[in-house]
Subunit: 141 residues, 4 copies
């Protein structure tokens, strides 16, 4: 079983541009945080949709690494997001991921996104990821 | 009718962090380009999903501005993307948007994303946007 | 506040062709069941995707009626479903809905679908619904 | 190459409950029709969302059979639909499908749905399908 520290080390080395911090990794779950700055806002001052998507995608990616190990090539195949409320300005965004299926070829999970400190989510995303064949033997379907 | 130059000026002033260039704006359509650099890649060297999403979201936003005028607060309400092929490395990404419905409250469109120079799309996205009430009078449903 | 019996009566009278049974309606939630017969299967013997979608759509519709009252014209605006596991043959399908946002104009919720008696969901759906303007005063955003 | 008649014969024998008629099958495309009756309406008299979804799913399924041959077990893995306009009452629904990717494992396509005789679509759907491994050799990625 891979440790949360292993995943943090991998991300720090191979994916520093993600701009997200790993808070925790559990069984089929992860929790991540992204600091919000000027580059993350769109006209009107709200956090841009693609930034929220990037937090959801990162949270899913981290939860997947926690399940199947360090697999750089797990690829997003489809992604759906609904925006529920306007994020609180200048507040970090938290992503809370839960994997619904960890299959041999396909992994599917959802992510609730929050402005840190709020209880109502600002968005909800669902992503599907394909696992490359060379990693099939290490999955647990 | 708003001109393409008006939209370019608005984006340059109010949304420079989008990192995308407007190539053209037509009736319910837009074409945009994003240069790809290190920050846009994920482990494995492919263009990250959220970067492709950001090009699609920007292309939809520009096409909407072309239809309803400069409305900073048109907000994404839902967004769905399917990844079709691996983008060509180090190639710019082109987004080609077509609005399917321009309603009083809701605007829906899709975007094909390409590695510049290729004819097969790398991804296809559909986004829905809500138009704030104060702009209803200027829409054309 | 509308009662579960009121919703059952409305559905029995106005929407008998739904083919679904209401098990319960709670705060922003509902639980429904659909019996599966030959018409609901596709080649290969599995429950067809559209049948699972119809259970999810019905579960969302019932939960919405529970929140905003009898509003026949609440309309689906977008719907996304991911299929997770093959349903158990000849088993009823259960839909468990949770509304994530009940706004003035837009209601968004998700539904987990199960083969009755199983704990792992066979599918997960997210739907968005628009509420007609004449009903805005009765909503609680 | 499979003929349109082969697909019609397969559907008539194995999937009569689909309730849809095949109008044509072309290269990565299909066109289908569904007659609308009382069972297909929801309160308010509009064609129900799940019925539109079933036409889109059927249109995708037929286009897939046209590409990879008679494969009963091609399974929907995810499905997204946006509802654009109210269908014309008592009018047949037409589905026009275009496959965007025909891969070894995954097939992705979209469908425009119309009230017959209208030029503006009532809905737009995108579906992804997984092809079972035993059929991989016959695909053309």
């Amino acid at each position: 079983m891979i440790s949360t520290q292993d995943i943090k080390d991998f991300i720090a080395k191979e994916f520093p541009q993600a701009g997200c911090e790993i808070l925790s990794v559990g069984t089929k779950t992860s929790r991540v945080r992204k600091s919000i700055g000027f580059d993350d806002l769109r006209p009107g001052g709200t956090v841009s949709g693609p930034v929220l998507m990037s937090v959801a995608d990162f949270s899913l990616y981290v939860a997947i690494l926690g399940e199947i190990g360090i697999v750089p090539l797990a690829l997003t195949t489809s992604f759906n997001i609904n925006f529920l409320r306007k994020p609180t300005p200048n507040q970090d965004i938290i992503g809370q991921c839960n994997l619904m299926k960890v299959g041999k070829k396909l992994i599917i999970g959802d992510v609730y996104l929050y402005s840190e400190g709020d209880t109502d989510p600002v968005a909800h995303a669902v992503g599907t990821y394909s696992v490359p064949p060379e990693n099939i033997s290490s999955t647990n379907e």
